[in-house]
Symmetry: D2
Subunit: 143 residues, 4 copies
Amino acid sequence: MSREAPRGRDAYRHFTRIATRWADNDAYGHVNNTVYYQWFDSAVNGWLVGEGLLDIACGDPIGLVVETGCSYFTALSFPGEVDVGIAIDRMGSSSVTYLIGVFPVERVEPSAQGFFTHVYVGRGNRRPTPLPEEWRASLDKLA
Amino acid sequence: MSREAPRGRDAYRHFTRIATRWADNDAYGHVNNTVYYQWFDSAVNGWLVGEGLLDIACGDPIGLVVETGCSYFTALSFPGEVDVGIAIDRMGSSSVTYLIGVFPVERVEPSAQGFFTHVYVGRGNRRPTPLPEEWRASLDKLA
Amino acid sequence: MSREAPRGRDAYRHFTRIATRWADNDAYGHVNNTVYYQWFDSAVNGWLVGEGLLDIACGDPIGLVVETGCSYFTALSFPGEVDVGIAIDRMGSSSVTYLIGVFPVERVEPSAQGFFTHVYVGRGNRRPTPLPEEWRASLDKLA
Amino acid sequence: MSREAPRGRDAYRHFTRIATRWADNDAYGHVNNTVYYQWFDSAVNGWLVGEGLLDIACGDPIGLVVETGCSYFTALSFPGEVDVGIAIDRMGSSSVTYLIGVFPVERVEPSAQGFFTHVYVGRGNRRPTPLPEEWRASLDKLA
């Protein structure tokens, strides 16, 4: 596999610090690969809520995940914290693909890099809906 | 700690078979203690749905967890399956405490034993509500 | 996104049946996207253990995850079970990329399709090691 | 149930701040009851590692969980953080029961209160072993 070099911290526009948990470590003593994806949607949805865009309980639209992927470079272990960086990789009319990087605190090289594609849909009909102007304006901050 | 002897399979009225997952194993190579609680509410809520009582998306009432506990006797590891037994330990006007036992498949002694107390509340107001007659009738099968 | 059509059940050589759990459902009432990845490494590692190749506690080599990805087509919800199909997508000297499909029981179309790349490494040094002949012979059954 | 009044922050000797995750929210929009237990062993084991007592990968003794319990008072939701307080409830020759409180950040009343009993065992034989003097001395800080 010839992979592109992973992106550094300067590729990201927003960071969320997240504590690892004991249960994150798997039988080989490292954070299980699935946990990184928990951090992905925590970072994206947390940012959307913080911007006042997403209201998980009642808001409209909501974001559904249609595709994700991750490359793992170095292992992480509980205890400790990570910084999860997000940036916009690609914005469509009703979807956004976020570039995501997981960095050990105080480290400049990522432990993992991935992407996370949200399609924004009506809460009731769960059909794709064009991103509201307010969303586009805020999302531009991650571009 | 002088604990009562754990109850055998005959103390339970319904069993749910659940597959362990790779991520269930923690750094010491055994199913993490928190996973047993995932099996507890899977067994109880799965039974309630199967009986046609609980409708997770739209039904009323719903069950909220107010207290749980578990004693661990022997370790479990992925891969493998477990049988999770449930029975009624105590029924109040709007709450039910379930006795729960986790058994390795084909084993008569439990790996863990616990309890799980649900309070049934209105979906909208989240206030305790007397158990509907239909629920009581079905729950009697677990007594 | 012009995606290839998802593969049906006949693209897979082995299926693992896994029960969903209450905690798998997220705030929108569907199995969270990260749970599919828990099924991925459960299906792959469970098969390797069942074949007598992987010994999680003591064996050598072990498999480390270097890349994963998943496309989500339709939502799943607890309660219920899924069939997780695995096949070999690509075999290198010390790595295997598995094609993975998640099917609702009794359904022919997948709910999700992904891949999972393991690099096999020495337990002690965690460096890539050529796949033992015994592993290759067994893995051929998934080709 | 006549329960004792839950203990305030002053009952605890050490606090760990932990970020909630998107996947923590269950189908009713609140942090699932099992996640609190993930915070319990994160708080206890994280403290033990921070004190230089527990070495998850190689140290001896290690702590195995033999009993846990939790009472839930108010719901929590992602996004947000919690403070998890720990104190010693009871110390035996080879076991420690920790009192644990989960507090929303900046709140004085707990969202949940529980306990967590570790038995300390030899890494190799997994048999209970008397707590080393160094452990007792450090644990006294939580008394």
